[in-house]
């Protein structure tokens, strides 16, 4: 698996599980880097099931949402599965307000998401 500054990447069976290192995903340079690291994963031929675990994330801005939307498109284009889990209540509110809870496949915890893969 490739080196990543902002992501902790692990394999659980055939699922690539990603945890975010940053508690706040907000400044533009960081968001660009995180986006780049996520896109590289999505385009990796060895990654067909991707789970983003947000347990560490306390804050994210709309620019970060934009990266997730692009990641979702890349995953769909490639035919791979993308799921999200462990999103804190306030960030979940952001997903609901923007109706992105309808775009993404979101689970309360990692186990539930893994079982649904």
């Amino acid at each position: 698996m490739s080196e990543s500054r902002h992501l902790e990447i692990a394999k659980v069976g055939d699922v690539t599980v990603v945890r975010f290192v940053d508690r706040k995903i907000l400044d533009e340079a960081n968001i660009q880097e995180i986006g780049g690291e996520l896109y590289a994963l999505a385009e990796d031929s060895g990654v067909n099931k991707l789970l983003l675990n947000f347990s560490n994330v306390e804050f994210l801005s709309s620019a970060a949402l934009g990266k997730l939307i692009t990641l979702d498109k890349k995953s769909k284009t490639k035919g791979s599965v993308l799921k999200l889990s462990n999103i804190k209540d306030e960030i979940m509110e952001v997903f609901r307000i923007t109706r992105l809870d309808r775009v993404f496949d979101i689970y309360d915890d990692e186990t539930e998401a893994l079982n649904a893969m």
Binding site: L26, D27, E28, A29, F59, S61, S62, A63, L65, G66, K67, I69, T70, D72, K73, E90, V94, I97, T98, R99, L100, R102, V103
Partner: protein, 146 residues
């Protein structure tokens, strides 16, 4: 409009992506010191971050010769933020609704909507290069007690 602000900060920052970071941290610290609720702090940080990014990127087009002018005021139960850029402005009503089915998968355009949802009041000036936002402090408890 409250006339009793007990913390008041006016400054300007260059049009650089991280220029507002320390400013927002200080604002949040001031609110934490006054025991504002975590949910309020989340929304205020989000709204202020979105407004700053809009001012720097869209207003000033990241032109480092232009500055973003900021006023933060904290009162007993109210916060007021004013963020003004040196760009030509825009009409907020021209921004498409990001929750329309056709726009759901567009990667950008959610900042103003989040500002309006998390703040109590959001208003742009006539030319659209200045936004004033207010937040009325949430109740002490999460329940329905008055």
């Amino acid at each position: 409009m409250s006339d009793a602000w007990n913390w008041n900060w006016e400054t300007s920052i260059p049009s650089q992506p991280q220029a507002g970071t320390d400013l927002l941290e200080e604002l949040i610290r001031q609110l934490e010191n006054r025991n504002w609720l975590a949910h309020d702090l989340f929304g205020i940080r989000l709204a202020a971050e979105e407004a700053l990014v809009n001012a720097i990127r869209h207003g000033n087009q990241s032109d480092e010769a232009k500055r973003v002018h900021i006023s933060f005021k904290i009162g007993e139960d109210r916060l007021r933020l004013e963020i003004r850029d040196e760009g030509p402005g825009f009409d907020p009503s021209d921004v498409p609704d990001p929750t329309d089915d056709d726009n759901l998968e567009v990667p950008s355009g959610r900042g103003i909507m989040l500002m309006r949802n998390f703040m109590s009041f959001v208003e742009y000036n006539a030319s659209g290069n200045c936004v004033v936002m207010e937040k009325v402090r949430g109740p002490e408890n999460g329940d329905d007690d008055e």
